[in-house]
């Protein structure tokens, strides 16, 4: 890990990991002015159109959606959704990035924070980054999570 790196992990997920959390503790040293987290996952969505159509059709039956509507939704794309949340010592909640898109960058300091996150003291001690796996629609999805201090 490079200088200032606090955490660097990679993981592989499948559809069976939908509705689960992966939690990663890390230690923030004293004196940090800025904490940066980055989550990237791929693919962003299920790219196999035939498989998407099949999954949408099956899911549609569960939710009372007809085949035409299911097919329309499959063409829009079945997305993977992984969100990133952060807790400081205490634990105290420091925010969450819950949005579409396969790359999340969060920067926190005492005075400012990226949207979704709460500014405040960067207290030294036990922090925790959590990847919430809301949905993996693709057969495989891998993510990389990094935290670093400045």
């Amino acid at each position: 890990m490079d200088q200032g790196a606090l955490l660097e992990v990679e993981a592989r997920l499948g559809p069976e990991d939908s509705r689960s959390h992966r939690s990663f503790p890390f230690e923030l040293p004293p004196g940090a002015r800025e904490l940066e987290l980055e989550l990237a996952f791929e693919p962003a969505m299920l790219e196999d159109e035939a498989l998407a159509a099949r999954i949408a059709f099956e899911a549609g039956r569960r939710f009372g959606i007809g085949p035409e509507e299911a097919s329309r939704r499959a063409r829009e794309g079945l997305r993977n959704l992984l969100t990133l949340s952060l807790d400081g010592p205490g634990p105290s909640f420091r925010g969450c990035a819950h949005r579409q898109g396969p790359r999340v960058l969060a920067i926190l300091s005492a005075a400012a924070a990226s949207p979704g996150f709460l500014p405040g003291p960067l207290t030294a001690g036990a922090w925790r980054a959590t990847v919430s796996v809301h949905c993996v629609a693709s057969p495989r999805c891998s993510f990389r999570l990094r935290a670093r201090a400045r």
Binding site: S18, A56, A59, F63, G64, S85, H98
Partner: protein
């Protein structure tokens, strides 16, 4: 008939909206401006699983003409729970399939109200966690159900399912409120947005607190256009009762009056909407009457009926007409409850 809701200020509200703090496209201040443009008094900032926009919302106050109600949408794996009125983050990450009751209790202990968002919107993999799949929790135990979700809510089959569920809960004796929520994420979605009207006690305090109290009591009406109202009383008695109130037993014949009242946000919708009749519904029965211009209030449409003695449980009203030429439910009130005989 006088009395029902008299002295209340009916606040026009949007109870479900997102900003850039989750997956919305507008800044918090832009959301406040958007709300003012719709003529709303109040908009809830209910970002997914975070409260980082609430400090800015509080700092804005009502400077754009609309106040922001603090909220969070617990976007869980098994359903989305709206926590209205909470100031701080509500933990959701430990919630399993049996966790709704605990979350609702936690939200209430923080002074908030817990609502079930879009209960039948298709869930994974279309909209993750959107379909309500919690177990061991009766929906009627929530503070409210978001019956009408997204623009053009009257057209969505999943909203019709939510409506049926609400009626079934009312028929079983639950007193759970029903709202709309556009689930607004930013410009770009076409369609009519419904408004939730909350009957707020006038007073010097913040509108948000009065709106929460109104929703807790069930003083609620929902509409695509003009504001629905309902008054229920007994002939020869002095007062009448509005949504969320309880009519005590008595000998007099029941009379009800339903009115659609103009408000500033409805003006732009007039060409699209046409209101024709009011249907009065109770447990196991209904009756209807055509709407006509109300001589007592300019621009309002009213219908008045006498009700049979068999009315029991509650009385609510649905306003029917058309939207862009197609027959539609265009608004409804929450029930006036009838006390045990």
């Amino acid at each position: 008939m006088r009395g029902a809701g008299e002295g209340l200020r009916w606040a026009a509200c949007e109870l479900h909206a997102h900003s850039i703090h989750s997956d919305g496209r507008l800044q918090v201040a832009e959301l406040a401006r958007y709300a003012a443009g719709r003529g709303l008094d109040l908009i809830a900032l209910s970002d997914h699983n975070t409260v980082s926009g609430l400090a800015e919302a509080a700092a804005l106050g009502g400077q754009y003409g609309s106040e922001i109600l603090s909220a969070m949408e617990l976007t869980t794996f098994y359903g989305h729970i709206l926590a209205l009125g909470v100031q701080d983050y509500v933990e959701w990450r430990g919630l399993g399939r049996e966790g709704a009751g605990g979350a609702v209790a936690e939200i209430r202990s923080r002074g908030g109200l817990a609502g079930i968002a879009h209960p039948f919107r298709p869930g994974n993999p279309f909209c993750t966690g959107c379909f309500w799949e919690f177990e061991g929790f009766e929906s009627g135990e929530a503070d409210y159900l978001e019956l009408w979700s997204e623009p053009d809510p009257h057209l969505a089959p999943c909203n019709a399912r939510a409506f049926e569920q609400w009626i079934s809960l009312l028929d079983r004796g639950f007193r759970v409120a029903a709202t709309s929520g556009t689930d607004y994420h930013g410009p770009g979605r076409e369609g009519l947005c419904a408004t939730t009207f909350l009957g707020c006690e006038p007073g010097p305090g913040a509108l948000g607190a009065a709106a929460l109290a109104a929703l807790r009591r069930g003083r609620v009406a929902v509409s695509l256009g003009a504001r629905p109202s309902l008054a229920l009383g007994r002939r020869g008695e002095g007062r009448s009762y509005g949504p969320g109130e309880e009519l005590p037993p008595g000998p007099g014949r029941l009379e009800a009056r339903a009115v659609l009242l103009p408000w500033r946000g409805a003006a732009s919708r007039l060409p699209e909407l046409r209101a024709e009749l009011a249907r009065f519904l109770w447990r196991g029965g209904s009756t209807e009457a055509g709407l006509a211009p109300d001589p007592e209030a300019g621009g309002a449409l009213a219908a008045q009926v006498e009700l049979p003695p068999s009315v029991e449980g509650y009385l609510r009203v649905e306003f029917r007409g058309s939207v862009r030429g197609e027959a539609a439910l265009i608004g409804f009130t929450n029930p006036v409850y009838l006390g045990p005989a």
